[in-house]
């Protein structure tokens, strides 16, 4: 039977929303406070949902420790206490949480120990969240 196993991780990172193609005034108009020259930070929650059949021997879709290792290696070590703007993934793209969510999905998509990546949800604050789903 197909079931899903989910895990929530927290990282702290900074970013600045600033598009090179826009003038300073246009950046201010588009991003407001998020355009502040020196950036700002969030405690991001990254929710990872893995889908797959339940292993009859373990009762699990994925081994939690193996999932944690994959997420830590590919995502948490890379972005925790980092400035997202300086990551090569955001060299040509503004690190909005939309882009960050899509980047995390891409980093994990083929890197899970078992099962398939079903969705990634990134909560930028308690009030803002973003999701990318597996293409069907």
């Amino acid at each position: 039977m197909r079931a899903y196993f989910g895990r929530r991780y927290t990282i702290s990172a900074s970013h600045r929303l600033h598009a090179g193609a826009l003038t300073p005034e246009q950046n201010q108009a588009a991003y407001g406070k998020c355009n502040n020259e020196h950036g700002h930070g969030h405690n991001y929650v990254i929710e990872v949902l893995t889908g797959g059949s339940v292993n009859a021997e373990t009762g699990m879709v994925v081994d939690l420790a193996a999932l944690d290792r994959a997420v830590r290696t590919r995502v948490l070590n890379r972005f925790d206490h980092a400035n997202l703007n300086l990551d090569p993934l955001f060299a040509d793209c503004v690190p909005t949480t939309e882009s960050f969510c899509r980047a995390v999905f891409g980093l994990l998509q083929n890197a899970l120990p078992e099962g398939e990546l079903e969705h990634v949800r990134v909560e930028e604050t308690e009030n803002n969240s973003f999701e990318c789903f597996r293409e069907r």
Binding site: V54, E57, M60
Partner: protein, 139 residues
Amino acid sequence: MVFLTRRATFSASHYYWNEAWSAEKNQQVFGLCANKNGHGHNYTLEVTVAGEPDPVTGFVIDLKWLKDVMEREVLSAWDHKHLNLEAPDFEHEMPTTENIAIAAWKRLEPAVAAGGGAKLSRIRVHETPEIFAEFRGEA
């Protein structure tokens, strides 16, 4: 189609042990969860049903009715119980979060279907705020 979710909490104990394996392998695979004296969690059960709002009441489902069904079908069987020892659902299955979600679906699906109107869409079980499993009735 509108999706509606009701949440409830229950507290239960469990452990993970595969009888077909040696003690060493159980320890190696399940770690702390293999402690045979068990341990417990405050679980959160989220039940999502899907349907069209009734033209008269505006409800997809009567939430009080759903709350009572969850209480009768699930919480009365699992709350403050040892899932390995007291819940028949786990006589032949380990009470992992995945299997708890599947077992909750099996308990709730017939009752929700019999209620008419809405269909069970998703069960989500949180073992901790950071660990959860879902079942959507897929084969």
